[in-house]
């Protein structure tokens, strides 16, 4: 009798120590079954139509690249400052509109086409990219200095402030740029498409380019955070802000730089996405949602988590649209919801997030 009680208490304690609530085993089994079912379904479809699988898979990977660029800025800002920048999607959208405006001015407005014959020279794409990124970076910096510097630690208040800013940006964007969705022209030095080494498939070059940029961004952020003095301060700041400033480091300067960088990444995403897909007044909601989901899946503040989250979201997004049974493809949003539920059920803090 007493032995049994002890065992039960022991189990309870062990469950608490490992953070597993009762029923966790059943949950794990259910999650494993769901993942196995999805894997089998995708494999079955892939076997039936390998060409579709390759194209859809590449679509997913390149989307994931774009999502990663955007979400890495979001997670960088959160990781260091605990600021949830609800205006991140707005910065993305602004960069797209800035670049579009500038490109139209530079080329005389004869270029708009997603992947069609491009009239834009390299400069007509690169200059808007740089200007838009810098402009959005400065907007982010001003935002941080004016509204977020003096209330550090008040997470909710800071989130509300960035929401207020996102309302104003959305309304002003609508006023100045109108609501028509357009695409930036990719530079004409880029080939339109590339031949894949199998099945005689071609694929849009710019989407591959976005994936390469995302990998470069990821590697440089990683190198910066792991290998430079700035990154060392950032990592120390994530762990203990007060101690860092007590050591004589100007943490405010680090915060400002990180916010600038994070906003620039939103801007880079905006120009890449504006060329790859389109510039649209609904981009702010869309990319705020994407940033949120990527970091909820991957874990707030984790760069590797953002990469995993972006990959998961990009692949689910692109396969969901195609691989659902015919007639149900418009339910694909439920798959993303399912992904979110799945991750939160096992790890509320995200796959690579730290507990607490």
């Amino acid at each position: 009798m007493s032995g049994q009680t002890a065992t039960a208490a022991d189990l309870g304690r062990r469950a608490r120590l490992t953070g597993l609530p009762p029923g966790a085993l059943a949950l794990r089994v259910a999650v494993t079954l769901v993942i196995a079912f999805v894997a089998v379904w995708v494999a079955y479809k892939a076997y039936g139509e390998p060409r579709t699988f390759v194209i859809v898979g590449l679509n997913g990977l390149t989307l994931a690249g774009l999502y990663f660029v955007v979400a890495s800025g979001f997670t960088l800002i959160f990781g260091l400052m605990r600021v949830v920048n609800m205006a991140h999607g707005s910065l993305y959208m602004l960069a797209g509109f800035f670049a579009l405006e500038l490109q139209t001015t530079l080329t005389g407005g004869e270029t708009t086409s997603a992947f069609g014959s491009s009239e834009a020279g390299l400069g007509d794409w690169l200059i808007p990219l740089i200007v838009a990124c810098l402009a959005v970076g400065v907007i982010g910096l001003v935002m941080q200095q004016l509204f977020l510097r003096w209330n550090q630690g008040q997470e909710l208040r800071q989130a509300l402030i960035t929401i207020a800013i996102s309302i104003i940006i959305a309304d002003q964007t609508l006023a100045h740029f109108g609501g028509i969705a357009e695409s930036l022209a990719a530079p004409d030095v880029f080939p339109e498409s590339v031949d894949l080494p199998f099945s005689n498939l071609t694929y849009p070059f710019f989407r591959i380019f976005v994936l390469l940029v995302a990998i470069a961004v990821g590697l440089s952020l990683w190198a910066m955070i792991q290998r430079t003095r700035f990154g060392m301060i950032v990592r120390a700041g994530v762990d203990d802000r007060q101690m860092v400033s007590a050591l004589g480091i100007n943490i405010q300067l680090v915060f400002a730089s990180a916010f600038f960088l994070g906003a620039m990444l939103a801007g880079l995403g905006g120009v890449l996405g504006g060329t790859m897909i389109s510039v649209d007044k609904a981009n702010d909601t869309q990319y705020l949602l994407i940033s949120l989901i990527v970091v909820i899946i991957g874990g707030m503040g984790s760069l590797a988590g953002a990469a995993i989250g972006a990959l998961a979201l990009g692949l689910v997004d692109s396969f969901g649209d195609v691989y659902l049974p015919a007639g149900y493809t418009n339910y694909s949003i439920l798959l993303i919801f399912g992904l979110l539920v799945l991750v939160l059920a096992i790890r509320p803090q995200g796959l690579l997030g730290r507990p607490g």
């Binding site: 208040r157 949003i333 919801f337 607490g356």
Partner: protein, 355 residues
């Protein structure tokens, strides 16, 4: 001190509220039909939506941005089940459809609560926002249930009458629903469940040590919040006679948040105070040339100013005024009329962290 004593503080605090309710009770005699419908009735159902947010924030410490999605689930479920143009071809009579809408929202609330209840503070806010925006995209994409055109000409129960030609009925229904929600939450706060929820708000880890199932309590609270939100959803469909994804998009989510924050995120009364301020401002600025189509910029700027200057919102400002007046009139140092959730306003700007 006897709790029933009418002190100056209490009179200053409750007096204007009572006056407000009395004016509302005879509002159809005082205001034009247009104003009654477009400002007052709208403010009442927006107030209920904001109340569901404030209930969760003030009593359970959960700031949710999913309330508009939940009211959308109630609204869309009812609109699809009742006779309407667009949506599913099912045509139930209005009352069962209404009940089903409320149940669907509560069910969705419990489910979302179950997945989000182990996250706290800003994480919880992000998860509920993500779920809210996903709900918007769901109804925008699934043409079987809505699509961008939405569901139009939703059949209403006879008692609601025509909200445009005959707005008094819907006004009184919204008023009664608002009063019921207010009294329900005030009552709930004194029940053992309500006290446990407030304990979870103040210190989740201590509540867990006391043997409470904290995630379960938070999930139940989210279900109750969904129940309140569902009333707003039903009323909004009756008021608009339609519902579309545009009724539950991010801008609408932010509107409800703005209302709650302008009113005061930590006082239940703030929901309707904020809603009236919002609806009146909306109605007033539309006539102004300077503002014109840029209503949202004005709202954003006011929202920004409130968050920066007075995180307690209008109720916070009012509280400071009554404290000041009471101390002047009674000659005693200021004392708060009731140790309510308003006291959390400052503290709760740092959301509770799990241990």
């Amino acid at each position: 001190m006897n709790r029933s004593v009418l002190t100056i503080e209490r009179a200053l605090w409750w007096g204007p509220g009572l006056l407000f309710v009395l004016v509302l009770a005879v509002a159809p005699l005082l205001f034009s039909d247009f104003y009654l419908s477009q400002v007052i009735t709208k403010a009442l159902w927006l107030g209920i939506a904001a109340a569901s947010l404030i209930f969760l924030a003030a009593y359970v410490g959960m700031v949710s941005l999913g309330q508009v999605a939940l009211y959308g689930i109630a609204g869309f479920t009812m609109a699809n089940l009742a006779a309407a143009s667009g949506g599913s071809p099912i045509a139930w009579s209005p009352w069962p459809a209404t009940l089903a809408g409320i149940l669907a929202a509560v069910g969705a609330g419990l489910f979302i609560g179950a997945i989000a209840s182990r996250s706290y503070g800003i994480y919880f806010l992000m998860i509920t926002l993500a779920v809210g925006v996903l709900t918007f995209y769901f109804f925008a994409q699934v043409t079987q249930l809505s699509g961008f055109g939405g569901v139009n000409n939703v059949a209403r129960p006879g008692i609601v009458s025509n909200p445009v030609r005959d707005p008094q009925n819907l006004f009184y229904i919204a008023l009664i629903a608002s009063a019921a929600v207010y009294l329900f939450v005030r009552y709930l706060a004194r029940t053992p469940l309500g006290l446990a929820l407030q304990g979870v708000r103040d210190d989740p880890s201590r509540m867990r040590a006391l043997g409470y199932n904290v995630p379960l309590l938070r999930m139940l609270a989210f279900g109750l919040g969904a129940l309140i939100a569902s009333f707003a959803g039903i009323l909004s469909v009756w008021w608009n006679t339609r519902i579309s994804p545009g009724s539950i998009d991010l801008a609408r989510t932010i509107d409800v948040l703005v209302i709650a924050v302008i009113g005061g995120l930590y006082r239940l009364e703030g929901a309707w105070v904020g809603a009236f301020a919002f609806a009146a401002l909306d109605n007033w600025t539309r006539g102004l040339d300077i503002v014109g189509q840029r209503f949202n910029t004005v709202v954003g700027a006011i929202f920004l100013a409130i968050v920066i200057l007075s995180p307690g919102g209008l109720m916070g400002i009012w509280q400071s005024i009554t404290d000041f007046l009471a101390s002047r009139l009674s000659g005693r140092p200021p004392a708060r009329p009731s140790a309510g959730p308003a006291d959390e306003a400052r503290a709760a700007s740092d959301s509770p962290q799990p241990s």
